[in-house]
Every structure is written in structure tokens, then in C-alpha cells.
Symmetry: C2
Subunit: 327 residues, 2 copies
């Protein structure tokens, strides 16, 4: 089965579970909490939970609860991040604080977060020692996500361009850790400890890094019709992502001037941004950025070296999908 | 030992634990997360966890982790509530979003929340089945707190004055549930199930209702020097609390007019508010409100009927402290 078909099939199982969990009173709260979820999303993280369980011989039914909880956590971070980034739309849909308001968006995030732990601690059929491991892994990941988000904000506020190492550290916390914990939780749901959890965690972490690097590339050179964001959106927002770090390191004085003129400048004209995007493209950053993503994808694949079977094939196929995507 | 002395003694144990847990990098995040905690607070909820454990013969050392986690949760709700209420100070200290900014305050709340679950799932020496019960109880309480906060917002937005029953339902979710779960968690830390958890939960819930009713009374008639809030603050904010519900039900047409003129009116003058407070006082709401709080305090005490010993005496003493306080 192609990765995208398998992702879709698994997504529908998770969607059904999420729909059941995310309703109640006051209705407005649950409408706000479900808002982004019902409007789409690939459910990549739940896919990783389910496949990581399956690759180790575990049953999908043992992993569905953790898979759904991870998606709740993911959406909790999206809702709160959109507030912090002051974004009005996400994938063409109004963000939660735009559709509802600030208070409801904060609470929508908080209730998603609470439901995630409640779901894990009450709906999972695993024995308590596995449940405790799931909570411990997931909460540690959430701590790191908060830390990563602060680093991201600090990088944006600071005039200095971060080093590649600092950027990787930031995206590891902000993004990769949730991919890592998704795989780790899948392994725990398959009742595995130590070595398997370590291997799957490594797969998830490296996949997550490759995912974010690719995402940041799309943020610079992506087709605005597909991304549903203005051309060069991340440049205008002054996002110090890897492709920007590479571009600035490669640029000569004249090119640097063109880039820096629009970088983080909300008043930059469309023409100025378009020129900066052309300059950045001409510096060959796409190839170098995609190569870096590929390097992490290869590390991820290596982590699965000792496993075989359909689930492995699907996970490796997902790697290819993640680094080659243009949307 | 007087309740206030016992509370102080227990608070210092919890403070030590919290200080150890709430540091890390980026420092700014942990400074924001600790901001309200280091500036005070009675640690009532941790006190309830510790005493509920002790009343059932449990060891304090088995409950300190849960006690600290509850305080993290409490502070998470304070930080996010202050954003929603647009409050600039809390007990004379700048609120987290005022001292830092909106993004850091959202993240400070989120990291406190994450740390609470991480602490419970990794630091508790209890066996996994008790840990899972703690997570399940705590996360359910957090879901209800979010629901309660939305009801509170809806009541404020709606022109209609809620009924007493609706008000009690709202404060049960918004406030009492965290007192309830504190006591339930104490009982679980003492390795008790079913009946004892039920009794202690009932104590906490009724104490929590009595606490909030008293809090709302202070919000109307409290001494502004002690509360560090402007006179009649809750009236100006249009908070539909029990003393207001009672006052409006008792007021004649002329009195109602004076109250409604300033109710929820941010532009009301000091003189107008002062007049409205005098009218409300003259309606005898203090006695009726304190009587309602007393009724819940008595229910709480009844829940502890089958227990004896020092911890019980301290818990009953706390009840008296909660309903008679003027600050």
C-alpha cells in the first residue's frame, strides 16, 4: 500500500475515536477544541503510533488510544501556537482564536491537553505500568515542546542569525519530539521496553527533524496556492529557519542586502519579497536543504534496520513522502 | 496546631519541591512559570492532598509529589485565567502576561501543566495503578475546570442573571473540582480506594464551593487594602457571583437601578461604585452569603464523620478558616 493510502486509512480510525471523545458541554468549548481537527490534518503522528506498535507485532487496538491522544496534543500545540504567531488562517481555515476568540482558543488548547491525559489514563486497555510510561513520555515531550517554542520566539526576537546547530536543537524540541514520542508510545503499546523503544524513538526524532526542515523549505519557496500562505511568508515573518541560515551564509553582500531588506519586515512589498525569494532560490538552498533533510531521513531508516514486514515498509515509505513533499 | 500554622509548615515542604522541579532552560520560560508561585500563595490545595493522605493513615512522603503537582495545575489555571480576565495584577504582583508577555504566559501555563503530569508519572513512589488513578482523576478535573471557565465567561457575556443553581454548577467545575481532586489524590496516595476516596472527595468539593462563595463575597465587600483590588472590583467587571445574584433578587426597583448602573460598566466612577456597594451591603447579602458557605462547610465536615485524629482536626479547622476569612 502506498504511504498516502495507508495514512488515510489509519486517519479515519483515529478521526472516529477523536469525534467520540471531543464532545460535551458547554458545546462552544468542544466546537473550539474540534475546530482544526474536523477541518483536516494528515494524522501523521497517530499513524506513527499505530505503525510503531505494528512493526513490533503489537495490535492496532492497543495503540488507538495513544494515537488519538497524540493528535489531541498536536492540536493543542497548533491552537496555542496560532495565538502566539498571530496567524489568522491555517491551511485556508480560520485559526481557533480568529473563529472563536482568545479565551476560547486558550481553553480549547487546555481542554485538548486535558482530554489527552484523561483518554490515556482511562481508555487504554494496557496495564498500569505501560500507561504510566505513556504519561511520563508524553508529558516530558510536552515540556520540551514549550521549551522549543520559547527558543523559536527568542531566535526571532534576537537580531543574530542562529547557527545550524542551534536551529536543529530548537526544531528537535519544538517539532521532532512529538514524532519521537509518537513512535515511543507505539512501542510501549506493543508492550516493548528499552531497546525497541530506543530504536523507534530514534526513527521518530530523525523523521521529525527531516519533516521540519522540509516544512521550513516549503515556507520559503513553496507554491503559495498549495501552501495557502502568501509567497515568502516565512521571510516576511523573519523566521530564522535552516534554508534562511544557509542562504545568508552563502549570500554575497549585495544578495544579503536584498534578503535582509524584507526579512522580518511586515511592510515589505510583494515585489521586494518576490525578488528576495528569487535571490534565495538562486543560491541553491533547495538542494542543500533537501540534502540535510535526506541525511536525517537516512538516519531514521537506519534505526529500523533490525525490523521487517509491512509496517516497516509503510514507515520507510512515509519517510520518502515527508522529505519529497512540496506542500 | 492552628490551621494557619499547619498550612504554613506544609507550604514550605511543597515550595522546596516546586523550586527543584521548576527550573531549566530556556530560563525565561521557567522564570515565567515560577513567577506567581514564588510570589506567594497559601498552598491550600497541596495542604488538602497531604492532610487527606494523613487522615487515612498514609505517609506524607507518599503524597508530596501529588501535592506539588496540584499546585502546578492551580498555577497553570491562574496564569491562563489572568490572560482571559485581562487582569494586570494578582495579589499586588503583576500577572504573568503583564510581567512577561502573552506568548510566554501561555507557555508558562502549558509547561506547568506538562510538569504536573511528568512529576506524577516519574517522581511518585506509588505503584503504577495508583499513579494511573492520580492521572485519571487530575485530568478529569482539568477538563471540568476548562468547562467551568467557559460557563463563567458565558454567564458574564449573557445579559441574564444566572440562577443560584447555575452559579453553583459553574463554581463546582471552575473551582471546587480542584479541591475535590486534591482530597481524592491524597486518599489515593494513602492507597485507599472507593469509599475513602468518595468521602474525601465530598469534603474537598464542599470545601471548594464554600471557598468560592466566600471569595466572591470578598470580591464585592472586601477591604480593598487587603484584597489589593479596587473597591467593588467584581461589580465593575460584571461578575455574576452568588452575592450579586442574592442582591439583585432582593433589591427593589430603585436599588436595582443603582446596582445595574455600575454592573459590568468599566466606566463607572468610584463614587457610583461606592454607592452600589453600600446598597448591596444594606441588602444583608453578607449574612445570607456566609450562611450559604457555612451550609457547604457543614456538608464537608459531615463527609469526615467516620475519621478521627490530628489531620481531621486540621482539616475541620481549615473549613473554619476558609469561610470566616475576609481576605
Amino acid at each position: 500500500m502506498k504511504a498516502s493510502n495507508s495514512i488515510k486509512k489509519n486517519a479515519s480510525i483515529v478521526n472516529k475515536f477523536l469525534k467520540k471523545e471531543l464532545h460535551g458541554n458547554p458545546k462552544q468549548l468542544y466546537d473550539a477544541a474540534s475546530h482544526l481537527i474536523v477541518h483536516g490534518g494528515k494524522r501523521l503522528r497517530p499513524f506513527l503510533v499505530l505503525k510503531s506498535c505494528q512493526i513490533l507485532g503489537g495490535r492496532q487496538s492497543d495503540a488507538i488510544v495513544a494515537a488519538s491522544a497524540v493528535e489531541m496534543i498536536h492540536n493543542f500545540t497548533l491552537v496555542h501556537d496560532d495565538i502566539m504567531d498571530n496567524d489568522e488562517t491555517r491551511h485556508g481555515v480560520p485559526t481557533t482564536h480568529t473563529k472563536f476568540d482568545l479565551s476560547l482558543a486558550i481553553l480549547a488548547g487546555d481542554v485538548l491537553y486535558s482530554k489527552a491525559y484523561h483518554t490515556i489514563s482511562t481508555k487504554s486497555k494496557l496495564s498500569s505500568n505501560y500507561t504510566t510510561s505513556l504519561v511520563s513520555k508524553l508529558s516530558k515531550a510536552c515540556v520540551e515542546i514549550c521549551e522549543g517554542q520559547v527558543y523559536d520566539i527568542k531566535f526571532a526576537e534576537n537580531k543574530r542569525i542562529p547557527t545550524e546547530k542551534e536551529y536543529i536543537m530548537m526544531i528537535e524540541k519544538k517539532t521532532a519530539v512529538l514524532f519521537e514520542v509518537s513512535c515511543a508510545m507505539g512501542a510501549i503499546c506493543a508492550k516493548r521496553k528499552q531497546n525497541d523503544v530506543k530504536n523507534l524513538s530514534s526513527f521518530g526524532r530523525n523523521l521529525g527533524i527531516a519533516f521540519q526542515i522540509t516544512d521550513d523549505l516549503i515556507g520559503i519557496i513553496g507554491d503559495s496556492k498549495k501552501t495557502k500562505k502568501p509567497v515568502g511568508n516565512d521571510i516576511r515573518e523573519g523566521k530564522k529557519s535552516l534554508p534562511i541560515i544557509i542562504a545568508i551564509n552563502r549570500a554575497n553582500a549585495k544578495e544579503k542586502k536584498i534578503i535582509m531588506k524584507v526579512f522580518g519586515n511586515s511592510k515589505a512589498s510583494k515585489k521586494q519579497i518576490s525578488l528576495a525569494v528569487d535571490v534565495i532560490r538562486s543560491l541553491g538552498i533547495e538542494k542543500e536543504t533537501r540534502n540535510k533533510a535526506l541525511k536525517y531521513a537516512q538516519k531514521a531508516e537506519t534505526s529500523l534496520g533490525s525490523y521487517t514486514g509491512t509496517a516497516k515498509a509503510e514507515m520507510v515509505s512515509l519517510l520518502g513522502f515527508v522529505i519529497s513533499r512540496r506542500l
